[in-house]
């Protein structure tokens, strides 16, 4: 079946502009995560959505970053007034809802490579 889909795959924009990154999770996956990966680094957690619960925004680096998930499916990560340090690959992942406390592995998209000039 279809995996996690992210768009665009690449985005180049000027400093100060706003950008929107899109994630289509695997159908039926209620958990959705956004991560940021800088060159040669591990994954930095940004935000987590689980069903209709309030999202865990504890990883968002500043108030320029926001995300929403409409209808429990597609998610959009928005970065306002972009800065050069925002340049990175933004990865989205989804997973089945945990049940009985049993966590499920995440399945990742191929990311959006964001470059701020």
């Amino acid at each position: 079946g279809a995996g996690v889909s992210q768009s665009p795959s690449n985005k180049v924009t000027e400093k100060g502009k706003d950008v929107e990154l899109r994630c289509d999770p695997i159908s039926g996956h209620t958990a959705l995560y956004w991560y940021r990966q800088s060159l040669g680094q591990g994954l930095e957690f940004l935000i987590y959505f689980q069903g209709n619960s309030a999202p865990d925004k504890s990883g968002l680096p500043s108030d320029r970053f926001s995300a929403e998930r409409t209808g429990g499916s597609v998610s959009t990560l928005t970065i306002q007034r972009t800065q050069q340090e925002d340049s990175a690959v933004y990865l989205c992942a989804s997973s089945l809802a945990p049940w009985g406390g049993v966590r499920q592995p995440q399945h990742f998209g191929d990311g959006t490579r964001l470059s701020i000039l």
Binding site: Y33, G40, L43, R103, F108, G109, D110
Partner: protein, 112 residues
Amino acid sequence: GESVGLHLPTLSVQEGDNSIINCAYSNSASDYFIWYKQESGKGPQFIIDIRSNMDKRQGQRVTVLLNKTVKHLSLQIAATQPGDSAVYFCAGASGGSYIPTFGRGTSLIVHP
């Protein structure tokens, strides 16, 4: 908080050899661990996971070992192939958290 790291940034092996990638974690409450493989330009791909009530789990050509005493886990890849060349990440979660913490990754290079 959780801290997950890998012992070596790069591991070079010959095709056909067995590979062992190590990972240490700091939080003794960590109870769920995952290994991912990331090829260039792609997102991380789930390989195998293990829960803290186990010390070993096997998949296809891969084995994960968990040593809770020394807070260490390893990924063993049997008969390594050139297609196994990638960056491998371990990730851990604790206390019922559904948000794993990722290490920086080990680059596995397989020489034909």
